[in-house]
Each structure stands twice: as C-alpha cells, then as structure tokens.
C-alpha cells in the first residue's frame, strides 16, 4: 500500500467537501475491494475518506412497497434483515451469498454499487428490481447508473446515500461463482412485477452488468423457464478468461436465468 492521508468524515456533507478538494481521494466504505486493490498497489489514492463514522448512512427501512437501504449497510445486515427477507427475499439471499461471512460483515451495499465491479452481485439486483440510487445530489435510476465495467453515473464529489428497491411479486438471483475467487462468473437476477419482467446479468459481460432483453421478452409472455427454450445469450462481448470462455459464460447465462425463474416460481 502506498502512503495516504486518512480523513474521518462525520457527515456526508463533510465527506463531499473533502472529496471535492482532492480529485485523487477515495471514499472508504467497507473497504473489501478498495483495500485489497491498494495493498497490491493497483490503486494509490493520496487520501482516504472513511465513511465509517458518518451518522445515518446505515440502516434499512420499508416505505410502502419499497425497501430503502442505507449506503453503509453491511451485506450481513441486508442478509439478515427481517424487512428485506419479507419484502424482497431474493435480495436478502443475494446479500447472503456475497463473498464470505467475514467479508459480508464489513462490505457495504453502497461501496459495492459505487464500485460497479463487473463480477459484483448487487448491480444485478439494482438493475432487475429497478432500484433508485440516491446520492447527496440526486436520484439516479439503476438503468442510468451502471455505465460499463467500473463505470457509473456518479459525478466527482457525489456520494451514494441510500438505495431504494421496489419490491417485486416474484424475484430470484442465481449465481454461478468463479471456482477460485467465488465472485459471480455469471449471476442472473430475475424480477417480475405485474406484467413486467426484468432480467439483469452480472459477471458475464465485459461491459459489466446488463439487462438481457431477449429473456425479458420471452418471460413477459409467460413467466416460466420453458419460455427460455430457444433463447440464448450471445457470446460476443462476454468475458473470456481461464475460468470460462465467452461461449461458456453465454451458456451459463441461459442456465442461470432458467434456474432463477424456477426458483422465483418457488419450484
């Protein structure tokens, strides 16, 4: 790790102020991605602004049919939240499968979403559930938020405050983990709300999380795994590495989507 200046923010406003002063600074949420990156000297922020003591950034509440999760809420808290488990059990299950228990005890939803790692789980939930990312400046719909691998709509000095997830009538997340890292090699979040169906895929594409429109169309006609027969994801643009070729990932997108739909139907 390179040397850096450590700053503890007490409020979002203060954190934003520190961030505005130093384009080179990084926000520290749970640190489960940032710190390993810094340890390997792949990131070298001159300052780290710790959000750990900012009041009011963590917590989960239900507002009507929407679950609102504070940016600094840890994965383990989402996983075990009675509110989340009742309103959007698929989201709790997703949180329960991120990293491992110790990582879940430290990693935060805001950090994960802001980082938009192409193999992260939460972006798939945000996109499929049609979440709204609330920052210190504005509200950003998930469809506009994720802009390719590690790229988001966040401006400089903009900080995620909370994320609002509208509940779905049926939803499920099916992940095929990378055997080594256990990050999603393919993760598919399927959500049905009324006649609308959204299918978001993480881990697979070199453009990061994306909505698989062909599957969505097929499932809108009939929400059943059988509807996906003959629908296949294209290998073009899929990540290819030693763990899986583009073709294998494209194939797994189909398999995991079917499994997510099956699970969402409670089968």
């Amino acid at each position: 790790m390179y040397a850096f200046t450590y700053q503890r923010a007490k409020t979002v406003r203060q954190a934003a102020g520190l961030l505005a002063k130093n384009a080179d600074a990084k926000l520290l949420a749970g640190g489960q991605t940032l710190l390993p990156t810094m340890k390997q000297r792949l990131a070298s922020p001159s300052a780290v602004i710790d959000l750990g003591k900012v009041e009011g950034l963590a917590g989960i509440e239900r507002k009507g049919r929407t679950v609102v999760i504070g940016a600094m809420t840890k994965h383990s808290d989402v996983a075990t939240s009675a509110i989340v488990r009742e309103a959007i059990p698929a989201l709790a299950a997703l949180a329960d499968g991120i990293g491992d228990p110790a990582v879940r005890n430290r990693g935060t939803i805001g950090g994960s979403v802001a980082n938009n790692d192409p193999s992260a789980d939460y972006p798939a939930a945000c996109l499929a559930l049609g979440a709204t990312i609330v920052t210190n400046k504005r509200k950003i719909p998930a469809d506009a938020f994720f802009q390719g691998m590690f790229a988001t709509a966040l401006d400089e000095g903009e900080i995620i405050v909370k994320i609002a997830f509208p509940a779905a009538s049926k939803a499920s997340y099916a992940k095929f983990p990378n055997p080594a890292s256990r990050y999603a090699m393919v993760g598919v979040f399927v959500a049905k709300r009324g006649s609308d169906v959204r299918v978001a895929v993480t881990g697979a594409s070199s453009d990061g999380v994306f909505r698989w429109s062909a599957a969505e169309e097929a499932l809108r006609a009939r929400f059943n795994p059988k509807s996906l027969e003959g629908v296949s994801a294209k290998a073009d643009g899929m990540i290819a590495d030693i763990h899986g070729s583009a073709e294998y990932r494209a194939h797994l997108v189909g398999v995991m989507t079917k499994r997510a739909v099956t699970a969402a139907l409670g089968k």
Partner: protein, 164 residues
C-alpha cells in the same frame, strides 16, 4: 500518523500509526499478538479473522484506524484464562488442526458461525459458512466435526449436560 484507540481483548490501547497499517499488522506488530496470521493478499484465506464489535472480519482487509472506538477480540482473547473456549477445545479434541497456521482464523470464524447460526449446525451449513477460511492440511473433514461439536458445547448449559 493517525491516532487510534480501541479495546483489544478487553484492554484499551491507543497508538499513533501510519494510516496504511492494517488491523492485522496492528495486532501483530504493535501489540505483538501474533496469533492472528496473514495467509493471502486478497481476503480469501481467513487466517487473519478477528472479531470487531462481536463480528468476524478479515483483519488484513481492515484499516486499524477504521477500528477507532471498536472492541476487538483476537484468538489470544478467546480463552477464559487457562480455561479453553469450547471451540478451541473442540478443535483439539477432533484433531481440527495440523500445522496450526489457519487455526486461529478458523476458530474465530467458527465462533462467529455459532453466534449467527446457533448451536446445532449441520455439515452442509458448516462447509458453506467456512467459505472464507482456507486450510491446506486437514481436508476440512475434522474441522467440520470440530465446529459441529464446538457449537454444541457453546450452548448455554452444555457443560452441565455433558457432565451428566
């Protein structure tokens, strides 16, 4: 340098540290509590697991300065004096360790599993919950047995039941 104050194994400690000091480095190098180990650079092996405010975390992926005001428990703080914690005793009884290097993190993670999942753990649950702890010696067979037995022994009144 940044000042950090925390409680480690029940004792308050204050230190002035380079902000890049990881919690694992802090307990090992500053406090000389070398039971917490570092086995990888990428937060996967779990040899460094300690409890921060009662929750298992990877101390190699946590800044010491982020733990200001926190209560930290390391493997050295788990036993009650000379009396082993039931999970420690279970690891010995069931031969859940060989070289011993992953063991402190494994035991701290195991205690955390029981805190979250209760005293009756099946094999499948234990294996899944140990995802963040790598052991190269045991093939996990006896670790699974140790965690299951340790969990039971941690139940209130377990010692009394065992004595009957």
């Amino acid at each position: 340098m940044t000042t950090v104050t925390m409680t480690v194994n029940g004792k308050s400690v204050t230190a002035n540290v380079d902000p890049r000091t990881l919690l694992a480095q802090f307990v090992r190098e500053h406090l000389r509590l070398t039971g917490t180990h570092v086995g990888c650079d990428t937060s996967q092996c779990g040899a460094c697991v300690v409890h921060v405010d009662g929750r298992a975390v990877k101390s190699c992926t946590t800044l010491a300065v982020s733990c200001d005001g926190a209560a930290v428990t390391t493997i050295e703080g788990l036993a009650n004096g000379a009396e082993l914690h039931p999970m420690q005793a279970a690891f010995r009884e069931h031969h859940g360790l060989q070289c011993g290097f992953c063991t402190p993190g494994m035991i701290m993670a195991a205690v955390d599993i029981v805190n979250r999942k209760g005293h009756v753990l099946d094999e499948h649950t234990i294996r899944e919950e140990l995802e963040g702890n790598i052991c190269r010696c045991t093939g996990y067979h006896n670790i699974v047995k140790a965690v299951e037995a340790g969990a039971r022994a941690m139940a209130p009144g377990a010692a009394a039941i065992a004595a009957e």
